[in-house]
Symmetry: D2
Subunit: 390 residues, 4 copies
Amino acid sequence: MPNLVDDVGTGGRPLRVGMIGGGKGSFFAGVHRAAMRLAGRFEIVAGVFSSTPSVSREAGVALGVPGDRIYPTFTAMAAGEVRRSDGIDLCVIVTPNHLHYEPCRIFLEAGIPIVCDKPLVNASAEARELVSLADRHDTFAAVTYTYTGYPMVRDARSRVRDGEIGDVKFLYVEYLLEWLANDPSKIGKGGIWRGDPAKAGLTGALGDVGTHAFNILEFVSGMRCTAVNANLQNTVAGFGLDDTDVVQLKFGDDAQGLLWCSLAAPGHRNGLRFKIVGTKGTLEWCQEQPETLHLHRMAQADLIYRRGGSDMTEDGMSCVSLPAGNPEAYLEALAVLYADYAKALLSGRDWRKSLRVPLTDLREGLRGVVLSEVCLQSSTAQKWEAFPDA
Amino acid sequence: MPNLVDDVGTGGRPLRVGMIGGGKGSFFAGVHRAAMRLAGRFEIVAGVFSSTPSVSREAGVALGVPGDRIYPTFTAMAAGEVRRSDGIDLCVIVTPNHLHYEPCRIFLEAGIPIVCDKPLVNASAEARELVSLADRHDTFAAVTYTYTGYPMVRDARSRVRDGEIGDVKFLYVEYLLEWLANDPSKIGKGGIWRGDPAKAGLTGALGDVGTHAFNILEFVSGMRCTAVNANLQNTVAGFGLDDTDVVQLKFGDDAQGLLWCSLAAPGHRNGLRFKIVGTKGTLEWCQEQPETLHLHRMAQADLIYRRGGSDMTEDGMSCVSLPAGNPEAYLEALAVLYADYAKALLSGRDWRKSLRVPLTDLREGLRGVVLSEVCLQSSTAQKWEAFPDA
Amino acid sequence: MPNLVDDVGTGGRPLRVGMIGGGKGSFFAGVHRAAMRLAGRFEIVAGVFSSTPSVSREAGVALGVPGDRIYPTFTAMAAGEVRRSDGIDLCVIVTPNHLHYEPCRIFLEAGIPIVCDKPLVNASAEARELVSLADRHDTFAAVTYTYTGYPMVRDARSRVRDGEIGDVKFLYVEYLLEWLANDPSKIGKGGIWRGDPAKAGLTGALGDVGTHAFNILEFVSGMRCTAVNANLQNTVAGFGLDDTDVVQLKFGDDAQGLLWCSLAAPGHRNGLRFKIVGTKGTLEWCQEQPETLHLHRMAQADLIYRRGGSDMTEDGMSCVSLPAGNPEAYLEALAVLYADYAKALLSGRDWRKSLRVPLTDLREGLRGVVLSEVCLQSSTAQKWEAFPDA
Amino acid sequence: MPNLVDDVGTGGRPLRVGMIGGGKGSFFAGVHRAAMRLAGRFEIVAGVFSSTPSVSREAGVALGVPGDRIYPTFTAMAAGEVRRSDGIDLCVIVTPNHLHYEPCRIFLEAGIPIVCDKPLVNASAEARELVSLADRHDTFAAVTYTYTGYPMVRDARSRVRDGEIGDVKFLYVEYLLEWLANDPSKIGKGGIWRGDPAKAGLTGALGDVGTHAFNILEFVSGMRCTAVNANLQNTVAGFGLDDTDVVQLKFGDDAQGLLWCSLAAPGHRNGLRFKIVGTKGTLEWCQEQPETLHLHRMAQADLIYRRGGSDMTEDGMSCVSLPAGNPEAYLEALAVLYADYAKALLSGRDWRKSLRVPLTDLREGLRGVVLSEVCLQSSTAQKWEAFPDA
């Protein structure tokens, strides 16, 4: 179903989307829209694209949104759309981090399904409130942990579940970027808010990329982190938050983990890489080469699994769109998430059952927020802290 | 401008597209439509989606095409669209190879721009006729050599032009696939026509993938092949055409080349790889890892250029949509072509000047057809044949 | 000078070597002898090859050692060799870890230069005593941290010193092996003593491979670890010591580090890999592909330096024996160390000045022993411990 | 047996070697001696190290050869050594190509086993004479096709024989070097003779590296080339012979091949790479990463075999010295050949049976010479030529 190129005979009506944020200059909103176009099942029909009315209007017009559905406020939009018989099926929230909470709350209160960028919000209390709002009516609510949309990440998840690497003993993840290195004065507006506690939240690198890294470990392994020992460091003068972090992890009594992330590692563009060590094998995947999954085995030939291969797992294969050799990449991964969302939204009450892999929902979003909180606590106290069963 | 994710403020009206072919089961038509959606500047409004009326209608409806623009024949469609004030801006032809010629001719005669899959047609006389039809009114007409849409291929082209590898002396390309290996009886309908001379044309592997390989050498180097010495072989019983070919190439007096292609090389999905050897350096690129371009230098460190890097050439950078590290792939490459097409089609008379890199137009399509003809001649005579200045 | 294949006109007399350990079945002793043969400047003329006289004699005879120089005890050998005018120039100690201390002490007391495998000894008090014995007469005494003999490791060291990556901010090293994974009952005698505290010392994985990883970080960066926060874990039932360790490191106020080592990571043969992150670039090297050094740079092409390239540093080039492309590997790395030793031993009083890179001497051996001690302390207390200025 | 580090209990007396060539400045002679030291079973006891007596003497002294066994001429040496009860067991010939024939002939006539560098000689008539001389008494005579000593090359050979890739259909090999590119005036004496027909023989690149490439295809596949279609080109002004060659190959009726070699491909140090395509899989190996062998399979995960793995073939494993992960490289490969030679020389009459893989003997040397002859003929006539059943 999530095949992105089979647009004939897929069936199902297009879904009506409202967007929060995404005016000119909002790069990631454009990425979301490209992924929606690729998924082929969405049309943007309403929005508050900016807090500046003229910017919002310009974006709405460019996107073909009717003038009366370019709203001045979230509240007006929620109220307006709820009233319509052709009201939005989904609200996609792509504002900066510190502006996630309010729209999430308002649309959930209106019973409108939401998709929100990670990190969900900047405080776990807020996240818990959103979880509880969604739970009230079992409203569809997703957090876009984009990397879980890569077929080989889902393939890895299945292989771990199937026991291909035996019992998981150690989970390593690194997520290295370079943009903050060298000279923070060069950083444009896009970067600076990430170092501003008022906007980015409690943590810098950890909240920004560490949450992705943490989520992918839990997603792939199916295990839950139970304790952390974190060392959050600021190494770049002028950046107000941590930019380089090491977090030791426990996953119950049986498995250890390690997370290393940095915004200041020259030569690393978007270097997310994990290595899951089991008793029988080790699985390794790297975001910049997303088409392959390496299985390292005891004293035997390495296996390089490839997206689209006949030996792919069902979960992996079910989100493949192109044959092996015609590579898929980042936009396709996000489009796989949107294809999942479409499937769930068209599935009615039992929407969770419609998906092969668990939705990265608000609870996963909450875990990302909790990660920042407990790691900050651990780093300050220089000791292990329990990870609450969020 | 061909930035695929910047959909706000790009300006320009959407282009109206008619499609020939592309009913249910036509995989590559879906790929073209996904690329068009990604490019964000096209809407499909008319078509003959199949020679079977019910299949055509089903596809048209699924794609939201109004009933009166789902036409029974190419002629009816050309006539109907030419009459309309909101007639199609472009006709995209995605039928099997042997069904390219007729629609190409009909729409060019009607003065309607076309996009056609490669190989253009199966005989050079037909191709020359199409070239001449397009020339008559300088009608926009493109052949989708998809791999020329990869940013790093364009980057390679610029580097060669800028003299980064000195004088080009040797051009190597290989294009290896596996689907025909092992057991031809397993090959489905999609594969079998490729071995049927009545449908695939004069050659098998050469026409199917060799043309891509040949085109990318000419595109990247800016050089023109002047002679070939080919050895076309059939190694798989039951396949009616060549499946494994070696072609020696001359590019004037100064450079030699070598093309190796096969449909029967197990373990190769879509293995297009070139190596351009100059007096000062060697450039190497591989389609399955399209994000990087390797520069091998005399006795010095290799350079691994990366899409999105600050040291990318302007031609390369101008078709980049995502930051380095968030990988782009096959659909993005095809969407880059469609973004080029949109730009050209919106540029009026001087459309050729609107593009940074030369359009792979019908002349390039013609060269692909000629390649099959002269190689077959050379292989039969077991000697060098001149490549006509097509 | 350390060119291993230029054996004509190198000059210098062959050095007379005595060996402690290295009877039949002692694999690494054979490795040392092969490296000595390769270095081409050594002849084994004396030894106590085993505590079992017949085994010792058999090895001595096989190695062509005269019967009167196959000694029953270390003491007898030291006394005997000191008396001879053609006594040994060097004593090479390749016994299991817990049998290093005694021969080291005895030969140092006799003023005989030594080469000892790492880890030097199992307690820092012993190591300090050996340091002090060597200091007394400035006796040559080396610990074979083999990986420091790789040309590209020395090249990396020079590049860091030359400021090529700016200020070092983060030092990552991993050293993963697989032999202990899966089923410890399969482990032969060679492995089991590594898990026996009485023989292996305080730590398992950390002493065995972590010391190498730690040493290479200090060697390449020229920095000194000042504090550790360790988590030593036993994950394999039946193995008496830690098998999987994470150690956070501080290098003064300016740089952080991270060491991950394991004996139970399936699919990893001898996976030593470091990544030194500076403000301007990141250097990465992997022992299993020792011929290349990767420089990751800010937003620019990666550089892959290669052993033997014209852009190699002088320190790197000075230990190259074969042209680039004719690969060198592990035995060559150890032979480079032995070539260094030969050079130093033939240089008289100022032997330290004869070497381009600092000898990994007993102080480095001591640091390896201290590493085990402070990490064990840290892991038990679950807090940071200062690393003494050993 | 060919384990290079197990020097205790291997048994067998050391073999007495005479050397032809190898005075100061003869780089490859040093490489041979290093490999012999590594193999641990040879001692150089005689030689004509140079045609200049003083250079010969200097080398002999440096190598510890007694003065009376540093001979003025090949004839004197053959006569002298045959007379001695402790005469040489083997004569190693490491002179430039055009000086191979005479010593080979003289020592074979004296019944003394020889090892000669490739290419054996410069004319097939000479090579046939040497073959016939060796045949007369079944004298051991080897040509050092060094790359056949790599464990993973032998592993590949076994896998092909065992049918792991099905029927071999296509054999590709490339061998690219850079030294001649750019500026031939920079080329030192070592390079220039390679372009001098009087010294290098009939061909340049083909004789120098093409022979290796050709040999490795035949060695790994066990197949015999039956026809060639060659295009030998000189692209570098001032170099008197071909520097860039393409040779199409036939192996009987069933398999095709392709050989591409060049001395002028910037960024390639010693780039020997083969790809053997079978009906079920494709094997790929690259000399610069000799530790791994890639098996590409139909629609399944690639396998990366590794030297020392538990899934290695017996032929491969039997020449492994170090555990997987402690890499072996070029000198080890040559030492494996010498270990084979030692084994054969100590095995008496049935020496051929002592070896697991066929010796690359004078017949293989002859095939290399014939390759140059028939390719030159083919290239001149621009047509296929039969490869005689040499």
